[in-house]
């Protein structure tokens, strides 16, 4: 069965189940049958005010509300070792995301080992990609530490989020307890796919078929992502007191440009490897988190080739003053050229405050001072078509609800 067919069947089955649940109603919720599924959702609305550059919409001029996230998910325990789950997502973020409904994930999960000290299994469908601590659920305000994530690890600026987030493919997973440790291993194999119009626009400015954006005179014929592979090992010590992770991803992005002046299409390829190290210490009142990422990229342009190594890291402290109030401080720095750090740095100093009157609601506010010789690389390109300056003061507020 083709993957698209599988997805159709899976979503139909899930929809049937949900419909049944609503029809039967909550009065029967005590029965075993109905407890085998759960439905959850979230909604968040952001406001961003900047000087100098735009961030998610027209944020310079009185601020922008063009930033929201909505999600609805269902999890169904079909049998002891089989589950189905899916999440629908709507996200708008200035020019970088369009607010269209999409399937964030939708997969079947079959466990081969199902013991209390060890599990192993396979997930098939559209699966979430592991990368660092926050990538898998980074569109949910309740599972990230701040409104905007550190750009050294969680890139937004160059518009590859769709490629990083979830992929149609297969995930093999396993986790096991040993002494004070709980270790989890994941590996994702994604199929070769055309990238969406949104990513094309984020990358090259123009849409497929019409103008080539940053390559005037050329038109973008096709753009594919291939050899996409993610893996992660995460170790938790003492029930999450300390967390360590190593993540690796590799992908090849190929774009074919055509032009009346060229006898054959010109192929531009970007072959990337990203290595990420993550560490976290969780005390009762405070948490300290740091992640480092190294990216090696091979650019191919027609017959010529060039290589680039970039890296970045952040250090983040969170302090839970009361169960209701949490403060955050972070220093984030990224270097687009590791061999020329002095002229390729982008830095972001962040101070944030979060107020959660009850576990269903959160209001977050944060200030970012984004600067450095390459400070504009942290900003979403499509929001600044006329180019961006290296220095931005940014204020963000977000209100989130979940159930």
């Amino acid at each position: 069965m083709k993957l698209s067919e599988f997805c159709k069947y899976a979503s139909a089955a899930l929809a049937m189940k949900l419909l049944m649940a609503f029809v039967i109603g909550t009065s029967a919720a005590a029965s075993d049958e109905l407890k085998s599924y759960q439905i959850h959702g979230f909604a968040s609305q952001g406001y961003i005010l900047t000087d100098e550059n735009n961030f998610y919409g027209d944020s310079e001029d009185g601020g922008s509300f063009d930033y929201y996230e909505l999600g609805l998910n269902a999890f169904w325990q079909v049998a002891d070792t089989l589950s189905a789950s899916g999440q629908l997502l709507v996200r708008d973020a200035g020019e970088t995301d369009d607010g269209k409904l999409r399937v964030d994930y939708l997969f079947l999960d079959k466990r081969f080992i199902n013991m209390d000290a060890a599990t192993a299994g396979v997930r098939v469908g559209r699966v979430k990609n592991p990368l660092g601590f926050y990538n898998e659920s980074r569109d949910v305000i309740f599972t990230r530490p701040s409104i905007l994530l550190p750009q050294s690890i969680y890139l937004e600026g160059i518009g590859v989020r769709e490629i990083l987030f979830s992929s149609d493919g297969v995930q093999l997973y396993s986790d096991w307890d040993h002494g004070r440790h709980h270790t989890a291993f994941k590996v994702n194999f994604a199929r070769t796919d055309d990238v969406s119009d949104q990513t094309r626009r984020n990358f090259f400015g123009g849409t497929g078929g019409s103008g080539g954006g940053s390559f005037p005179g050329f038109s973008l014929d096709q753009m594919k992502i291939s050899d996409l592979f993610f893996t992660q090992v995460m170790d938790e010590v003492d029930g999450g007191r300390m967390r360590f992770a190593i993540s690796y991803l590799t992908a090849i992005l190929k774009a074919d440009f055509t032009s009346p002046q060229l006898p054959a299409p010109l192929t531009v390829s970007v072959d990337s490897n990203i290595y990420t190290l993550s560490a976290q210490y969780n005390a009762e009142r405070w948490s300290l988190t740091s992640e480092y990422s190294l990216t090696t990229t091979k650019f191919g342009f027609g017959g010529s080739e060039s290589r680039l190594r970039s890296d970045g890291m952040y250090l983040q402290g969170e302090y839970r003053m009361t169960p209701v109030w949490t403060g955050l401080l972070r220093y984030d720095m990224a270097f687009s050229n590791r061999n020329d750090r002095a002229n390729s740095d982008a830095r972001d100093i962040t101070a944030g405050l979060s107020w959660s009157p009850n576990p269903s609601w959160v209001v977050m506010g944060e200030y970012h001072y984004i600067h450095g010789d390459n400070g504009d690389s942290s900003l979403p390109n499509p929001d600044n078509p006329g180019g961006a300056s290296n220095r931005t003061n940014l204020l963000a507020v977000m209100v989130g609800y979940r159930f």
Partner: protein, 145 residues
Amino acid sequence: MQMVKYLRLMFCVGVLALPFVCTAAEGIQVVANASVQVKELPVASLRAIFSMRVRNWPNGDPVRVFVLPDRHDLHTSFSKKILRIYPYVLRDTWDRMVFTGTGQAPIEVANADELMQLVAETPGAIGYVNKEIPSNETIRILQIR
């Protein structure tokens, strides 16, 4: 000399009294539905259960985890003293599962009485109570090693 003897006595009394003091101060017991065949559990297994990683009891019955709200005193004490996991870390683990489709959140109930009642009524259920009660025909007190 007198002082040393006195200190030694204090120490002995302290050590002997320690287990009683701990039980009395915490008074928290892990309770399961009588259908659960397990009598005692290592802390590691209890952690795995409340982290929502365990789906079935050894006899195959589904595990049903019941908890109180995150900020409820009993939940906080249970998390910190029995599981030795901070409640916010536990919540983080559940959220990651719920929003990545890899697991379910535990069933949250409003108060300790309701929790006790649901554990007694639901096959495969596990929860916690803050009073000394014996096992009976509907519930089983689990010993944590």
